[in-house]
């Protein structure tokens, strides 16, 4: 399993957790004005967006030639990849929980990774292309207000979102393997 984690970039995930903690400590509690944003933007709003864009990387199969030789079920491989990505996002979410206002952000970190997982399921290695404009739209939507109680994600909704994206990702992985075998 260690070898698989290494192949999927566990080192990079560790690096990203460190970068996210640095971002939270230096920028997240600040406010700044960005063009077109009528209100000052809370640095917290950047955290879910950046987690989604970078932490989803282990979900992308960068060595399909090796995966083609797998005898493990694609479902198991997909679940293991999800476990690594969610472990990274979970660590960031956990750190958010330790900060004031961070409770709401933690839920968004997990929801953002879910969105990224869904996007990976649909677009594979190009997941970041749709995520970037979505992130910008999120920043516009959240400008000045995030995190506020109005943004709270109810726990059942969060669970449904995470579970739904995992299902989509696992399903897409299984379908992709089947399609490859039929080509």
């Amino acid at each position: 399993m260690t070898a698989a984690l290494q192949a999927w970039g566990v080192g990079r995930v560790g690096l990203l957790i460190g970068a996210a903690v640095l971002l939270i400590e230096t920028t997240a509690t600040d406010q700044f004005l960005l063009p077109t944003f009528p209100d000052r933007l809370n640095g917290w709003a950047l955290v879910p967006a950046l987690v989604a864009l970078t932490m989803a990387e282990p979900l992308v199969d960068r060595s399909p030639d090796l995966t083609r030789h797998a005898t493990r079920s694609p479902v198991v491989i997909a679940l293991a990849r999800l476990a690594l990505a969610y472990a990274g996002a979970g660590a960031v979410a956990g750190y958010c929980l330790l900060s004031p206002d961070g409770r709401m952000v933690a839920a968004y970190v997990l929801a953002a990774l879910s969105l990224a997982a869904g996007t990976v399921a649909l677009t594979g290695p190009w997941y970041w292309v749709p995520l970037l404009p979505i992130s910008f739209a999120w920043l516009q939507h959240a400008a000045g207000d995030f995190p506020r109680p109005t943004f709270a994600i109810p726990a059942p909704t969060l669970v449904a979102v995470v579970a739904g994206s995992c299902l989509a990702y696992v399903g897409a992985s299984a379908v992709r393997e089947e399609v490859q075998r039929r080509q």
């Binding site: 960005l34 063009p35 077109t36 960068r62 970041w128 970037l132 404009p133 992130s135």
Partner: protein, 423 residues
């Protein structure tokens, strides 16, 4: 050269899809909230170039992918044998930049055409701001290409995109020189225009940065380019350094004041708005001319013209068109906006004062009462039945006219200390 670009960007269909993806990626900054830029052609152009905020990072990511492929293919070794190795290395980046630029140009064309179709006055001579924005886009693409070439792994693509997006944020908040900010003002740009010097400095800085980054992406190939080429690159990089310093100090001066032109709708009263933001003028003039009826009936002397003022200006002979930013850019206004403007028959210097002696508190209450009175007379609002003025509101209109006349006269003459609430 074109062929070389094409090979690395895929088939014609793939290139078309890439351009479509880039176009789509550039839309979120443009489709913000209520498309307020429809009300100002200058703002529409500014918003078009602002699409680089999300389009640029995607272009950087795509360039990163292309250069990862290029590096893994072993082509750089073949290029070193080519007649123009450096141009061969640059070609894919130029191809990505060309596709991304086409997407930006299309977005700019769409926003400005839409603003024109919505009735905004056009300023085609201002299209000069687009090439500097495309230079910034080139710098972003070069960053992606450099990361792809140096890292050599596909996972670098989202990192390249995030890095470029972060540079935009840092540019916008002033942490780094404002090279990566390409528009997105929250104002309407009425009586303003694009400042030539900061934007030219931005273009020079972006070009220098792009050239330097591309050279670093494959230093060995860069060294094989001709002396003239290397000299030109060195000049651009050298020019970029003072430009960066200039941008650091002038990051907020992308826009400067321009000459003020008005467009008017004749009537009683005549209503004038700044030429850049005339979208709601017809509606505003019609409403103001209709709502002026009760004031005329009350016997007040209306100013001949109501004019949209600029901050800091004052004119005792003309009324003020008072619009909030959203109203200034909207297609229509409300009766309340029209009544609010009618309730200010002169733009008194005291309105910009902080001193209660010059600007008594009662002015604000009277402004609300007068605005509401106009709306009540037109049947757009009902008279309050509660509060300290309930008795006055209950009087017949003829009995209210003396207070309206006295108040309006005082407002017209800027005798703000003479203002009194109705008894």
């Amino acid at each position: 050269m074109i062929g070389a670009q094409g090979v690395w960007l895929g088939t014609a269909r793939v290139r078309l899809l890439t351009a479509a993806a880039l176009f789509t990626a550039g839309l979120p900054p443009v489709l913000d909230r209520d498309l307020s830029w429809l009300g100002s052609w200058k703002k529409a152009l500014d918003q078009g170039t602002f699409s680089i905020t999300t389009l640029g990072p995607v272009a950087a990511g795509i360039a990163c992918v292309v250069y990862v492929r290029l590096r893994r293919s072993g082509v750089p070794d073949l290029l070193s044998q080519a007649r123009r190795p450096w141009l061969g290395w640059l070609a894919p980046a130029l191809g990505v930049w060309a596709l991304a630029s086409a997407a930006v140009l299309l977005i700019c064309a769409l926003t400005t055409t839409a603003a024109w179709a919505a009735g905004a006055h056009t300023y085609p001579e201002l299209f000069w701001v687009v090439p500097p924005a495309l230079a910034v886009l080139g710098a972003e693409v070069s960053i992606g290409a450099m990361m792809g070439s140096r890292i050599g792994h596909y996972w670098a693509a989202p990192w390249a995109a995030v890095s470029v997006f972060t540079l935009f944020i840092l540019s916008s908040v002033g942490v780094v020189p404002g090279v990566f900010r390409t528009g997105g003002t929250s104002g309407s740009l009425s009586a303003e225009t694009f400042a030539i010097h900061p934007i030219a400095a931005q273009a020079v800085a972006a070009l220098g940065l792009g050239v330097a980054v591309m050279a670093l992406s494959h230093w060995d190939l860069f060294r094989t380019s001709s002396t003239v080429h290397r000299g030109m690159c060195a000049v651009l990089v050298a020019a970029a350094i003072p430009a960066l310093f200039r941008l650091h100090s002038d990051s907020d001066e992308r826009y400067v004041s321009s000459s003020v032109e008005y467009e008017c709708r004749d009537g009683q009263p005549t209503v004038c708005m700044l030429e850049e933001t005339t979208r709601p003028l017809d509606d505003l003039a019609a409403r103001m001319q209709r709502l002026a009826g009760p004031l005329v009936a009350a016997g007040v002397a209306l100013p001949a013209r109501f004019v949209q003022k600029l901050p800091g200006d004052s004119n005792l002979d003309e009324g003020s068109v008072r619009l909030f930013a959203d109203e200034e850019l909207g297609a229509t206004v409300t009766d309340e906006t029209a009544a609010r403007s009618l309730a200010q028959p002169a733009d008194c210097p005291a309105y910009s004062s902080d001193s209660p002696e010059d600007l008594p508190e009662v002015v604000f209450t009277i402004d609300r009462v007068l605005t509401h009175w106009i709306l009540v007379q037109d049947g757009q609002a009902s008279a309050p039945t509660e509060g300290g003025l309930a008795d006055w509101w209950a009087l017949p209109a003829e009995d209210q006219h003396p207070w309206v006349r006295t108040t309006y006269d005082a407002l017209s003459d800027c005798r703000l200390n003479a203002l009194r609430l109705p008894q």
